[in-house]
Each structure stands twice: as structure tokens, then as C-alpha cells.
Symmetry: C2
Subunit: 356 residues, 2 copies
């Protein structure tokens, strides 16, 4: 099997003969091969053990046929290094036992050292680059400052963000200190991932869709912008062609104008926006990643195929399209459907990009 | 106190001297007076006992000063009449013990009779009209067909909708039968509410924001459109000036073009869209309801006031604006903050609408 660099070329906005595809959360519970390992190991243990992280990272490449590998990890792995007591409670998702609630909590927060606190991530990336040498490119990732801050403040997943927004509105000085510490942590972490061999990096702002545009613009965008710029500058220094940066602002369809101001090379878009509008609204200088409904994998093949074609036709021959789900793959998805989707993307993009 | 018809005039798109305000879920747990009653009664018991429903409906009118009363009830109260075994499990929200999973489940579903199955709602509305005679107008409401269908299929609240979307894509005939039964139920239910004295009705499509625009257009919009048209026609027959219909499609910022095709008189907008864009995108024939972040009630007064002013200034003197939260009020909100918000809306809209 020859090295498949389709994803990397698309991420650099080069014209490609077909559209690359990968899936958010592609190394995950929908695969029985993943569940077999997960049955024997804790989630954080898997993140922290390079051999295990490498093994599950490779599974969807070998078994599902995606065009890129993304490191198996979690956006919150830097938390302990910052002084945040992170735990994955059974069936409950992440819990932070000492959430940030006051300015003094913010003052006590540390900027994590990527090597000292998350060296296992860099080790996994290095091994993966070797393992993937004849396969596909490798993606590194991190959570964006707001998404990380919101977990640190609320202490768990939420849809409300009362504590987080209250801090943002009530104490702008503490908010700035907090967002700066998260930004510094993320910058150092992604730079270290690039040094360790990540060929593309993605910044996940998973919960920014719960924020009003005014607050995004004033209290979040400046930090994201700085993170994206510094990562970009670092990539330019390390790799001659640069390291493409994907910015995924989930649920931000109503403020794509602001999201574009944040920078990055490729904008990830969730499934709630028609791709025709996405293409109209996003400046051609950006690539586009997305955006099929993750639940489309529960549709019959003909309907799934129709959805794939609609997205590909909306993009047409515009360079820099990376096909992806509009959010992470669901744990009850059938891997066979994921394979079918990938086949549809390849077949139809081949045709569409050839102008047929 | 003279009758305050500000809300009704705005809902009819008449020019008003200031902007009316009410809050979704305004009869709720954030008020200690509500909690005192709730401590003694089950949630569904409160919905089904007109005296209790009336009492909590009136609380925010008397104690918080909103410009409209909305019947205390739940969007799912029609379920038992349809053959769906509804329960409010402690701390878990609604659970349907016999969710719809197959075509034969859909065939067994009945169209609920609004009087036979939910006569307590009509009784509460009649009492409320009397109680509110010298106060404010009365709003009735129902869930939209998709939101109801998604609960009935999933069996509980979710953010994924695998079963629901799978049915929609796999069996269009069953989907049509299902959506038609929910539409018929909702039409009969809201017509009966109008007959019982509801002066404005709101249709809540609470979960439609989890659907891709293509699916909304094809599989949801036609039903919502029919419901809104029939309700409107019935209101025109019952009340000489008509009964204004509010359509709240939550999370639908990316498809306001489609939402407008559904009809109604006033479109409710959640807080994730800048009001300047809302005003640009919504045809002037519609009124606009919204759209401050519900969590804004956790902000300091000066920031809350700034948010109120931004929204009011974006709307300017356009007729038909009803100020509201972009979603239901949170249970830990301070009623004093709600009163402050209402004061800000009244004061500043007075000034802005006077052209000052």
C-alpha cells in the first residue's frame, strides 16, 4: 500500500483528485476492536499509555479506511498538569473535583508543561509517525481555551454554563488570566505535538455554540486567535510547507463571520448548516471540513449516499475540502456504514472533481 | 391596575410605545413560591390540577411583572391520550415507557382528543382568563410535531436522535403517518386552547436544531406549516382580530429561511444569533420574539443592561418585537435579576421606540 497523502494535500488547499475523509472520534466505541481494549483498561489509562493509544489510533485506519489518523486522546489530558483534579467517572464523562470558582482558584492554576505533564502524548505521536509511514497522515489536537475553561469552571459537561459565563461577565480580569493560562497551555501543547510529528493539528471549540455571538467576539475570539496564530507560526518554523491548522467551532453556524476572524487554515463545520451556505459564507482562503450528520450512519445506504452527494456537490471543485462528520461518531454506529460512507465520498468526489 | 395589553398589541405587529417581555418557563423552579407548591405535588399532578396550574401561572405575573401569562403545563401532556405511557422520573425529566420504534407502533398511536384527554388544560385556561381580566394577556402552547415525535420515539430527552432520524430516513410512510398523527393532535389541542380563551399561542419546536436543514425541509417543515396554517385559520374564526401564533424553532439559526416558510406570525429566536442578523434575515411581515441568553440573569446588572440594550437597539422601532429569553429561565436564576431585566427592557424600549 502506497502512502496516501490525499488528506495532507487537501489540508494545504491543493487541488486533489478526490476528497479525503476521516471521522471525529473515529478511534472509539463503535468499533469492537476498540471495545475489546477498553474493556481491559480505563479511559485515562488508555490516553496515558502510548502503546494502547497507538493501537486504537491505528484501528480505524486499518479497519475502516479513513484517509487520516487522529491521535487517540482527550481534550482534557492537560488538566492534571494545570492543577485540576480530572476523573472519568463511570458513565458520567469527565468530572473535575476542584472546579474553578473564584479569582484565587484562577491564580492557583498552572500552565501545564507539555513534556513533563503529557509526555505520553508526544511519545505516542512519535511511534505513530513510524507506524503510519506507509499509510496516512497524522493529526494532533487540543481543546480550545473556552471549551477547556468551561469544563474547568463547571466541573463537568453541561449545556448551561452559568458559572462559566458568570465569571466571564463578573470578573473580566480573572477571566483574562484564566483564558490566558489555558491559551498558554494549549499553545505549548500543540507546538510540542508538532515537534513530535503531528502533520496537521485540530483545535476543538466544542461548546462555543452555547455562547452568544457578542460574548464570543469579546471574551473568546481574541484568545482563539492568538492560539491559532502561534501554532501556525510554530508549524511554519518546524515544517517547510507548514502545518495546516483546523479550527472546529461546533454549533457556531450563526457566527461564521466571527469564527473566520479567529484564523486557522481549515474551518470545521457541524451538520446543522447547509453546505451551500457554508461555501458561500466561508472565504475561499479557508479549507472546509465537514459536515454530514453523524446520525446519517443510521440511514439506509441510498439515503446516506444522497447526503454525501449533496455535500460534495455543494463544495464542487473548491480546493481544501475534507469530508468529515459534523460531530463525533456515535458509539452505536455500525462500522460497515462508516466504510460505506467513505466509499461514497471517494467515488462521488472522484467524479465531481473530475468535472464529470 | 389597568389591563396591560402591550404584549397582545405587539403580537399583532402594532406599533407599541415600549417592548413587552415575558420569559419561557417563567412559572418555574427559580421562584420560591413555585417550589413551595411543587414540594407538595408531582409535576404532572400540577399540570392536571387546574387550581394548581392556575396558581403557578399567575405567580410571575404578580411577583415578577411579566407582560403576559403563559399557561403552566408541559408539551407532553397529550401523550397519554395518544397511547404513550408518560412519566416524569425523579430528576430525569420525561420518560416514555413504550417508545415508538416500528411502523406497527405508529399504527397503534391515536390522535388525542383535547377535551377528553386534556380537558384540565382547557379548564385552567378558562379560569385564567377570568383571573387575568385586569392584568395581562394569556398564552397557550403546544410542542411541534417533530419535537413531540422525537420524544415519543427516543423515549426520553436526548441530543442524538438516532432512532428518530433512522425512522425518518428508513420508512417515510411510517414517518408521514406519525407526523400526521402528531400534527392532528397538536392542531386539535391548540384549537381547543383558543376556544378556551388563549389569546396567543406558541408552538415549541424545541429540538429541531439537531436536524440538518435538508431533513428539516423535507420531513418536518411540511407538517409544521400545516399546523401553523390550521391554527391560524381557527383563530381567525374565533376572534375577530385573529389569534397571533408564535413559532419557536430552537437552535435553528442556520435555517431561518426555512423556518420562515413554516408560517406563523412571530418567530421565536434563541440567544445564539445576533439580533442584528435576525432583523436582517426575518421578513418584516413576521414579529420577532427573543433573544437574550437565559444565563444573562447571572450577569451583573450593568452587563445585563448592556445586553438588553444591544437587542433593543438592533430591533429599533420595528413593530412586533416581544422580548424574551432565548430559551427557558434556569432554575437557579434569581427572581430579582428577572425583575431587573424586565425593568431594563421597559425603560430602554420606551426611550428607543420614542426615537430618543
Amino acid at each position: 500500500m502506497a502512502y496516501n497523502d490525499l488528506f495532507l494535500r487537501a489540508a494545504r488547499l491543493e487541488s486533489t483528485e478526490r476528497t479525503p475523509v476521516w471521522m471525529m472520534r473515529q478511534a472509539g466505541r463503535y468499533m469492537e476492536e476498540y471495545r475489546a481494549i477498553r474493556a481491559k483498561h480505563g479511559f485515562l489509562e488508555m490516553c496515558r499509555t502510548p502503546e494502547l493509544a497507538v493501537e486504537v489510533t491505528l484501528q480505524p485506519v486499518d479497519l475502516v479506511g479513513v484517509d487520516a489518523a487522529i491521535l487517540f486522546s482527550d481534550i482534557l489530558v492537560s488538566f492534571p498538569g494545570m492543577g485540576l483534579d480530572l476523573e472519568f467517572a463511570k458513565g458520567e464523562g469527565p468530572v473535575i473535583n476542584n472546579p474553578i470558582r473564584s479569582k484565587s482558584d484562577v491564580e492557583n492554576l498552572r500552565v501545564a508543561d507539555p513534556i513533563e505533564h503529557t509526555g505520553y502524548v508526544m511519545e505516542a505521536l512519535k511511534i505513530l509517525r513510524g507506524e503510519l509511514e506507509h499509510k496516512v497522515p497524522l493529526i494532533g489536537f487540543a481543546g480550545a481555551p473556552f471549551t477547556l475553561a468551561s469544563y474547568a469552571i463547571e466541573g463537568h459537561g453541561t449545556r448551561d454554563y452559568e458559572h462559566c459565563k458568570a465569571l466571564m461577565w463578573t470578573d473580566p480580569v480573572a477571566w483574562d488570566m484564566l483564558m490566558t493560562k489555558f491559551s498558554d497551555t494549549v499553545i505549548a501543547y500543540l507546538c510540542a505535538q508538532i515537534d513530535a510529528g503531528a502533520q496537521v493539528v485540530q483545535l476543538f471549540d466544542s461548546w462555543v455554540g452555547y455562547v452568544a455571538p457578542r460574548d464570543y467576539e469579546k471574551s473568546i475570539l481574541p484568545y482563539t486567535k492568538r492560539v491559532l496564530a502561534e501554532i501556525k507560526a510554530h508549524g511554519d518554523k518546524v515544517v517547510p510547507e507548514g502545518v495546516p491548522v483546523i479550527h472546529f467551532a461546533n454549533g457556531a453556524a450563526s457566527m461564521l463571520d466571527l469564527v473566520q476572524q479567529a484564523g486557522g487554515d481549515i474551518l470545521g463545520v457541524d451538520w446543522r448548516m447547509d453546505m451551500k451556505k457554508v461555501v458561500e459564507q466561508i472565504d475561499p482562503k479557508f479549507g472546509i471540513q465537514g459536515n454530514i450528520d453523524p446520525v446519517a450512519l443510521f440511514a439506509p445506504d441510498d439515503e446516506l449516499e444522497a447526503m454525501v452527494v449533496e455535500i460534495l456537490e455543494a463544495v464542487g471543485t473548491r480546493p481544501g475540502h475534507i469530508f468529515n462528520l459534523g460531530h463525533g461518531i456515535h458509539k452505536t454506529s455500525d462500522p460497515e456504514k462508516a466504510r460505506a460512507m467513505i466509499r461514497f465520498v471517494h467515488e462521488h468526489s472522484d467524479r465531481i472533481r473530475a468535472g464529470a
